[in-house]
Symmetry: C2
Subunit: 327 residues, 2 copies
DNA sequence: TCCTCTCATCTAAACGATTAGAACTGCCAC
DNA sequence: GTGGCAGTTCTAATCGTTTAGATGAGAGGA
């Protein structure tokens, strides 16, 4: 059915080698007249090189595996798009898999991607998993964690500096007159969320009363539930930094349902800066992660075997309505 | 570096054929003792079959390509996850690509996936593109459109019946006492949005005054802009059905910014039913699309070469706050 | 004329898995 | 003892590309 190199060779009266040389501007030159004939034959037959055969011969597939905790989460979805763009510049395709926050499924996806001979593996991990990238290392496949590494392991981690940005967020809320600034963290935070929590802890307790640390799952639902309880119990803080946009959106939903005005009675900020955050009601003030830069660095790490440069821009503050700004 | 069949054969003192038979419970039987030896050798060496080699030989890769208009759109993201689940049941991997609503890029992605020898192609298309699946048909690769087909073409379309559901939505708003029910459509609607618009047109004009048809891009931003204008001009309808959740969320954002209470001054519904819609403020009432069923049918069409059964459930109504319900 | 050198092209061996066909072992019946 | 048969296992071709080594044609120098 499919047109092969041999077909083109026959049609143009040459050999498969010449056709290959033409197709790749091969390692050897081809006479101009011959090149024309080959190109014409390929066009007529509608030849499309078989990447599988090439992959077998070359030992490289031009495919990278991306394991996500959850592609429905706008933060991860945005990250995935950034990765796709970075890969496209290198003419590389992307396989994706959702681990659904389950370490077992994450392991399973990695296993399948390795069997598919991916050239590299990017893991945007869920909390609490094992060092899945260890399998990749064992298989000789370069790998990198982005955003979060569950345990210190052999694969590099690409993550922006959260300290600067969270400090800026705390200062910004102080600028709106808030003394007690609470933080909504994950259930048992680690990785970037822990960094953010630490940065907040240092910045928020540097002056003024002891700040409040809240915890809930990384979901809109959990944050909404927690918020509803706090409002009902009369213990809702007046200023809050949520670790993730998803949580912040949950807070927003519950506050709206309970009639708690934002930013009037609650100044809210969060730490991802997904596209969604610009279209909540009110619009979320966020510290926006440099997703494109993170993706580019991860891909460079895998494909160009570049050293992990530490020169990643920090997340930067985008002030909208929810913190008390007018914009 | 990698362990091959030949390595396992050498280690276990057999031939590659026997090892292959063992690995696949091959087309021929193997003596129990030999099977043990092979299995042991494979385990010791950490053998992992090379899917690329298998693919070249078998002519089938176990990979399906999914071309999305925009994976950051929660509706498409949810659809992608449904497709992934359907594929997983058939032990098939998924390559994804974003076309970014650009017909040219869509074409390009299809081209690249075909070069990668995908076993099938699912296109969740943007408006206005050519019949990209025609390339797949030409290459002998089964393909299917999901949700939307830009032009009538050779590939089947999987899409749920919108008529029943939109009619239900109109009835539901009538139940809340609304006589004039407006509809927010796309810029030049086609496919499912056109079906929804038609269903609304029929249902809404069946009794009462002529209903209002609005149009804007399928983005939060565009819907927000339009809404702001309508509110400023005093022409905002009291009841509105948005074609997509994204648009509805934009309406919500602008209404909130302008202080227009929902559902008090505007009863709002929309037509996707993404996970996001449950966590807006107020929560969106939606007609929820049967994404799992759509994905399953598309995958069955490609991989099981099942006939396109018309037995797809229609989108069904989920009533939340934004329409005026208490829930 | 013969040798060398360059340029263009062809031949054929990989890559790793699958699987027909051949080959070898015992075993049983005649 | 020979033929046949079943049960195992081996050999080798195949999928489509890539690319090193062999081949051949023509130009130029001696």
């Amino acid at each position: 059915m499919a047109v092969t190199l041999a077909d083109v060779a026959r049609r143009s009266g040459t050999s498969t080698a010449v056709v290959s040389y033409v197709m790749n501007n091969g390692p050897r030159p081809v006479a101009p007249a011959t090149r024309e004939r080959v190109l014409a034959a390929a066009a007529e037959l509608g030849y499309r090189p078989n990447r599988i055969a090439r992959a077998l011969r070359a030992g490289t597939t031009g495919v990278v595996g991306l394991v996500l905790a959850d592609a429905s989460n706008p933060y991860f979805a945005a990250l995935a798009r950034s990765v796709e763009r970075a890969l496209e510049r290198r003419d590389t395709l992307m396989m994706t898999g959702n681990a659904g926050y389950l370490p077992g499924r994450q392991q399973h996806m990695v296993e399948r991607f390795l069997a598919a001979q991916v050239d590299g593996l990017i893991v945007v991990s869920a909390d609490g998993g094992a060092d899945v990238a260890a399998q990749a290392v064992a298989a000789g496949v370069p790998s990198a964690y982005v955003h979060h590494r569950p345990v210190p392991g052999q694969a590099p981690l690409v993550s922006a500096d959260n300290d600067v940005a969270v400090r800026a967020a705390v200062e910004h809320l102080r600028g709106h007159g808030h003394r007690r600034i609470a933080f909504l963290s994950g259930p048992h935070d680690a990785g970037p969320v822990a960094e953010r929590r630490d940065a907040w802890q240092r910045a928020a307790s540097s002056s003024g009363p002891e700040p409040l640390l809240l915890r809930c799952d990384y979901s809109r639902e959990a944050a909404a539930r927690l918020t509803a309880e706090l409002i009902a119990g009369g213990t809702m803080p007046r200023a809050l930094i949520a670790a993730t946009d998803e949580q912040a959106i949950g807070v927003l939903a519950a506050a709206s349902a309970a009639g708690l005005p934002i930013p009037g009675r609650l100044a809210l900020m969060s730490c991802d800066g997904t596209p969604d955050s610009a279209y909540t009601a009110p619009a979320l003030s966020v510290m926006e992660q440099p997703l494109d830069a993170m993706a580019e660095q991860a891909v460079a790490l895998l494909l160009d075997r570049a050293p992990a440069s530490a020169s990643l821009p920090a997340a930067h503050l985008v002030a909208r309505r929810s913190c008390g700004c007018d914009a």
